[in-house]
Amino acid sequence: MNPETLSGDTVIDAVSAVFMVAGALMSLAAAVGLLRFPDLMTRMHAATKPQVLGLFLLLFALGLQMRSWWVWPVLVVAWIFQLLTVPVSAHMVGRAGYRTKHLHPELLSTDELEAVVQQAAGKRGFSDDDGDEASAGR
């Protein structure tokens, strides 16, 4: 009985060690993406990796290491808050990046927002913030 529980312990340690290294590598991947990608949109794509998957892997490793059941709800709450708040900031940054032309249009395969922006510019005279915003949300 005793060697069996010992090997189970070792297995849990090994799994959490693998998850910790993988979660750290997500951060490294984000840094490499930040340094090498050409414009804001592609860098945003790279920046999401440690924020969602990396945090998930590390919280899972933490839960495995603690070996108690009551930490899991707290870890789930931390991850769900991250899942709720990361899209908000990504949406705002991407929207501001599109508005201020921080992108290479020749690298986009499709630009679905451009037709809407053109239509709003024709309708409202390309003047204020609100027309753009209302049509983008439509």
Partner: protein
């Protein structure tokens, strides 16, 4: 084994933080810098997580929850600010 994991993750996270700081220093626009600062915050959160997991304590757990709750406020604020300023310079 935990010592080896701690060393490997420390090296990897240091490299990642260095890359994010280089992007903050060099980033051509303000939005790039904000994005890199978000990544740096995620790296700090990862370091807190790994510290807790390797040393088996939970001292930083509430800090991690708070970071994941209010970490988006800064980038949202800066994104609004950038949009407003560009709008005004384009009008004038």
């Amino acid at each position: 084994m935990m010592q080896l994991v701690l060393t490997v993750t420390a090296v990897v996270l240091s490299l990642a933080a260095g890359g994010a700081i280089i992007r903050i220093a060099r980033g051509p626009s303000l939005l790039d810098r904000v994005l890199a600062a978000d990544v740096l915050l995620a790296i700090v959160g990862a370091a807190l997580c790994i510290d807790m997991a390797a040393n088996r304590h939970l001292n930083n757990l509430m800090l991690l929850v708070a970071v994941s709750l209010i970490g988006f406020v800064g980038s949202v604020t800066v994104a609004r600010f950038v949009a407003d300023r560009r709008e005004k310079t384009r009008e004038s």
